[in-house]
Amino acid sequence: MATITVDGQDIQIGDAERLNVIQAADRAGVAIPFYCWHPGLSVVASCRMCLVETGTKNKDTGEITMMPKLVPACQTPAKDGTVVVTNSEKVRANQNFVQEGILLDHPVDCPICDQAGECWLQDYYFNHGHQERRADVRPFTSKRREMGPHVTLFADRCVMCSRCVRFTREVSGGGELQIIDRGSHAEIDIFPGYPLDDKMSGNTNDICPVGALCSTDFLYEQRVWFMEPHDSVCTRCSTGCSVQFHVNNDQLYRIQPRYNPNVNDWWMCDLGRYENGHVRAPERIGSIKQRAADKFTDHLWPEGLKAIHEALAGVAAKSGGAKLAFVLSPYLTCEEAYLLASYARKTAPDTLLVLGKVPVVGQDEKFKSGFTVRAERCPNRRGVEEVIRHFQATIVDWAGLLTKLDAGELAGVYLTANYPDQWTDDAEAAKFERLSLLVVHDILPSALARKAHFIVPGAASVEKDGSYVNHAGLIQTGEWGIRPAEGGHVDGQSFSDLLGRKGLYQASGVLAELAGAVPFFARAADGVPEAGLNLVTGEEKRPRTTALGTVTHPLPTFRSIASEMLEVE
């Protein structure tokens, strides 16, 4: 155990922990302001915002020797006997000077800056700023420029923390960004002809502490204080990054990564971040439809499900359960897969359970930090497999299903899809033509849906609660942020209604049920913590929430500063 003294308060940190003074002070509930340091990047100690007074305490005599000069807290390791003073006149004066220095040639265009509301400059101005601006210098830099397809640079707002540059060199590895020119003319730029266009470029927008790097897709879409965050899981590949959906008025505006040391650290890829056009696509399927010849007619909700239930039971009665297949898409949550499989087995004990198509695109793409975008483009193949394995000895995959269709071994299929992209074609759809009953449960129209006898609307991941098991066996739970497309229901509700259960679908209740029934999920019986549970190894890291919040942004946000002000009498 090492003892560190922060502003007169002794705190203990473990011997194996390698913390810097910012992190140690955070444990003591003391916020040291910083710009250039980021826990996921190397230390450059260039912004000088974090300067504090340090010293050492002699173990035997208790005598404290202070260093004559201020040192950067981000670069100073917290060792046994380290004494830190963060609230002296000298420290405060430095913070004020740094803040004033940055603001001298800052455009202060907060009203039109997308970062306003979550900007570190704004936040720190509350704590360390001068009230008056003693000089007003026009920035020497250029203004706005595209860095790549997703990143826009507003050079005049940059505070030269070099986080973005270090990110491209150390995490994504592309090294696209650099600092050109010197002194007050310095600005961030790309090398001519080499835009920042790899799959991790969007992260630079997140780590930029100010509004210098802005997400082009989100630019001017919404002010941040209107949006509500909802913790969830990215469903674009089997890595399953922890994310936050930022929503307002039933619209998904932005997706940002959420710190999770078991999966994605602070990052996520652009695929998961930006490819969400399917959520509010105009062609989204919104109601239960039944086809007669070439015409689809809409059904009201309870009658539609009842008609489907009767049709499925009819096939099972006429041709036997073995000729009825239920296809469980890897885009379903574990809870939904469990409910649908239970329903399949309730319809007839020998129905066939099939693992839906697992989309694979190219090769796994591994970045310098180890962050990987997987070729397997679905969130829950493992979870669905484990659910199927519980009900059925072997796993029949998509190819197996097509073989059975070709051989004419099936009479009816209930097929769930919910893929965000087009996932099938006419050739594949033709194989389903001979079925006497085809129910397609999907979010977007497809070649297959046109052949279906019934269409059931599905829900996108941002619209539903539920858990996913990623490639490594880590189960994570997400919460819904917006309601399903007009007329639609969440998948869990449809399956629970089909099962004949009364009332609203509660994912947490079903997960507890699943954990009780299927040993693979046993660890999730009491719910899943924020950073997930590894169902295979039984071990995972639990990030600690420090006194000041998360390690990425240890400051009260705009919202909490406001509520702090409201609470005071």
Binding site: P107, V108, D109, P111, I112, F126, Q131, D136, R138, P139, K143, R144, D156, L219, Y220, R223, W225, F226, M565, V568
Partner: protein
């Protein structure tokens, strides 16, 4: 700004005396006002007027809180920079803005659409207070009527036309450009 900030002045309500608690003083005050108004009406310079034949006179139309207008900059473009601060401040949630990148070289962001539901508005003037570029102002137009709800939902063009209609009588409260006080907020 923190609650212990030196610039904040905390004001306490004064304690009421005996007559105050018996409502005697305020009651007499009120009666005196009534009497004063009676006398002035008798003298002919009344508090009321024959609306609508006769138009009421405002002491200072610049501080009256009537229909909104969206001001224009020197080049006749909408002055608003689509910062949403008015929509944030509005307690009635009646301002709806869609911001986008401006088509002009010298300005960054502007409202593609700017809609105020004048029926929902409570004419508190918070939007005017919040605006960093003095783009939204409440005019002295008070007799706002319409035949339908839709008619009372004012869009950008209509709000700009209120500017054209009122700028003669009511000059802009400030000459701040769309850039605000800073030099490059545009």
């Amino acid at each position: 700004m923190k609650p212990d900030d030196k610039q904040i002045k905390w004001v306490k309500e004064p304690k009421l005396g005996l007559s105050g608690r018996m409502y005697l003083g305020p009651l007499l005050d009120g009666l005196a006002t009534t009497a004063r108004h009676m006398l002035s009406t008798a003298r002919g310079d009344g508090m009321t007027c024959q609306f609508p034949e006769e138009r009421p006179k405002f002491g200072n139309p610049l501080i009256y809180r009537g229909v909104h207008r969206l001001n224009k900059d020197e080049q006749g473009r909408v002055k608003c920079v689509a910062c949403f601060l008015c929509a944030t401040a509005c307690p009635a949630h009646c301002i709806d803005i869609i911001g986008t990148q401006s088509p002009w070289e010298d300005r960054e962001k502007y409202p593609q659409s700017f809609v105020i539901d004048e029926l929902r508005c409570i004419y508190c003037g918070m939007c005017e207070e919040a605006c960093p570029v003095d783009a939204i102002e409440l005019t002295a137009l008070f007799d706002l009527t319409g035949a339908s709800r839709e008619e009372m939902i004012f869009d950008k063009e209509k709000l700009l036309s209120v500017y054209d209609a009122t700028i003669e009588q009511e000059p802009m409260r400030s000459r701040q450009g769309a850039g605000g006080q800073g030099h490059s907020a545009s």
